[in-house]
Symmetry: C2
């Protein structure tokens, strides 16, 4: 749905309905400069703790800082090294102490400016500083925009496990500026598209159709296409999270489509070898082949996903890795109960189901058959 001028797209809002924790995601192009006005339209603020990383700060810390100050907000700007190692107890402690040192109090807010690591880390600071500060997110990667904007999961890692320390802490508002994606490295941008494809497969066939029909605008990062896919992904995730906010009913597990294979791949290939979305791309195709083997999914639907992911320059072939290690990693997955493998399996494009008690040899053959011919 390109407009006459694809640079001028009217902004839109996605509502995340969570009773008294409801909030809006404000999506636009070039709206970063309005961040001060946007926050003060949501509540009165005199002090903000702005948390970003070295990569993002280089581009966007200054305009955000100035936009907040222009509204009379005192800003404590804290910049951590870019990368996963900043999601640590040591970094959290530095941030707690720096915020306190600069006179944080119960009326202060926390603003996360960055990708998933910053959202998780800053959200954890917000959840725990003075027993909870209002939290605002400005996600700057496509993955964070379509994933971390909705869900309320915040936290840090311990050396032995990722995301093991944290809280559910919903933001008071999320501002997404699609223009910031222009500075995102191409590989990281494409990785985010894999999660977008995931939403189509698990919940919305017409959205999947739209993605198939708009590969080129997506590769070109056209604002209208970006806004469409971000808004729809957020809406779809919001529907799921609204029904299972604290991951207790099991519904939220459908968001993990492709992720059992993905996590095993990430673990065995070694951190950083595959970007998360790249591993999701490979994992979704494994889960689709698994669906075929279980007799619930049809090969043409696997082929549709393969074609779309491939057109989006995402990896589609299973890499050659130690199969015993892959299986062991899958058996340690959070979805495993009493040693039985469980997978989110597609039934058709737009519908998936959690299937338990999957035979490990069947699961591994779906992996193996993804090797390039």
């Amino acid at each position: 749905m390109p407009t006459s001028n694809p640079r001028q797209v009217p902004p839109q809002t996605v509502h995340v309905p969570l009773a008294e924790r409801s909030y809006d995601i404000s999506i636009g192009t070039g709206n970063l400069a309005q961040v001060g006005k946007w926050i003060t339209s949501l509540r009165s603020v005199t002090h903000a703790v702005l948390i970003s990383d070295t990569n993002v700060a280089a581009h966007y810390e200054k305009p955000v800082h100035q936009a907040l100050e222009a509204e009379g907000i005192r800003v404590t700007s804290l910049v951590v090294p870019a990368g996963e190692p900043s999601k640590s107890v040591a970094t959290a402690q530095k941030l707690w102490e720096a915020a306190l040192e600069d006179r944080v109090d119960r009326k202060s807010i926390v603003v996360a400016l960055g990708g998933g690591v910053i959202g998780d880390l800053a959200g954890f600071i917000a959840a725990t500083m003075t027993r909870g500060l209002d939290f605002f997110q400005i996600p700057t990667t496509l993955l964070a925009q379509v994933d971390s904007s909705v869900g309320g999961k915040v936290g840090i890692n311990l050396p032995a496990a990722k995301n093991i320390v944290g809280c559910f802490w919903q933001p008071k508002g999320v501002l997404i500026d699609t223009a910031v994606l222009e500075t995102l490295p191409r590989r990281e941008y494409l990785s985010g598209l894999a999660e977008v494809v995931k939403y189509g497969v698990i919940l919305d066939e017409p959205f999947f159709d739209y993605l198939e029909a708009n590969v080129q605008p997506l590769l070109d990062r056209e604002p209208a296409a970006l806004q469409k896919i971000i808004a729809r992904s957020c809406e779809l995730k919001a529907q799921v999270v609204a029904e299972d906010e604290r991951e207790t009913t099991g519904l939220r597990a459908i968001l993990n489509y492709g992720h059992t294979y993905c996590h095993a791949l990430e673990t065995v290939a070694g951190y950083g070898e595959f970007l998360h979305g790249e591993a999701v791309s490979v994992g979704m195709l494994c889960a689709s082949r698994l669906g075929e083997k279980l007799g619930v999914f049809h090969a043409p639907s696997t082929q549709r996903q393969h074609a779309l992911l491939s057109a989006l320059s995402l990896p589609v072939d299973t890499p050659q890795l130690d199969e015993a290690a892959i299986l062991a990693a899958m058996q340690r997955d959070k979805k495993v109960e009493h040693g039985k493998l469980r997978f989110i399996v597609p039934l058709k494009i737009g519908k998936v189901e959690l299937m338990a008690d999957i035979d490990s040899e069947v699961a591994m053959s779906a992996w193996r058959e993804g090797h390039s011919a």
Copy 2:
């Protein structure tokens, strides 16, 4: 209300009404041995992280551990050094890592066995491990039984500020065994009584009357009297917390009666010089004299508090400390807004009010006039 045999008191339950976070406080004498059955009556449990300190563990870790194991619960028992320094990021990190090492998962529970430090620390671990574990409290000091049992405040200290990092995290249940108070040092026991007196002054004159009429049973730690004062204190605190769970309406501030003076006294006298309840005792009398000076409270009511606190062997005289330091400490208090002093001031026994914009000289004269003649 002593029964015919004061060692045999029927157990009782106080309900804390917090919508879907409601829970019960189970109060009895000698009910510690039933902790396993009590927890499994509330939910099914296969793994518990039991957190206590070196002092408490010496007396009660073994019976609690065994009572849990008797119900088929695997127990990870973690003991930290007794004392406030354990409420640190470093200790929290050790506990997170130890729990993870012993295979904590989302279905595990955390059991706090100890006083206020253990309740706050273990509650923070529960609030943050795997984004929130069910939390059960077994408070072992009178202060923790009448204070930390209700309120949901959990957290740790940073070097520059106490309780600055934490969450609101309600327990799923609290078990109070009045028999554990037999091993509590006398001074610490008496300190807890000061908070009990506080509940009478702020909310319940008949309860205050009861305390006046039962000084000797209280000093003797008679089970019937203990159960009465613990249950009533928990009920009163529950009423307040139910109306202001996250300390947003200001109602919860009435629990801080006497605490502005108390915190200043603790800060200036130096940590450990006064036990918390001892400083509360002195602080309540300062706040009462302040009420007299403001023309809202009558001297005979101050005298009633003085007589009761004194009969309970609690300190009643303001210590000789640097007045400038006391004032400065009060001005840093959380209840200060824009530099104006605010106090919880009694109107009569059973009713208090938050009064803002108090002149610092008036506040200090209420302090000064408490020096012993």
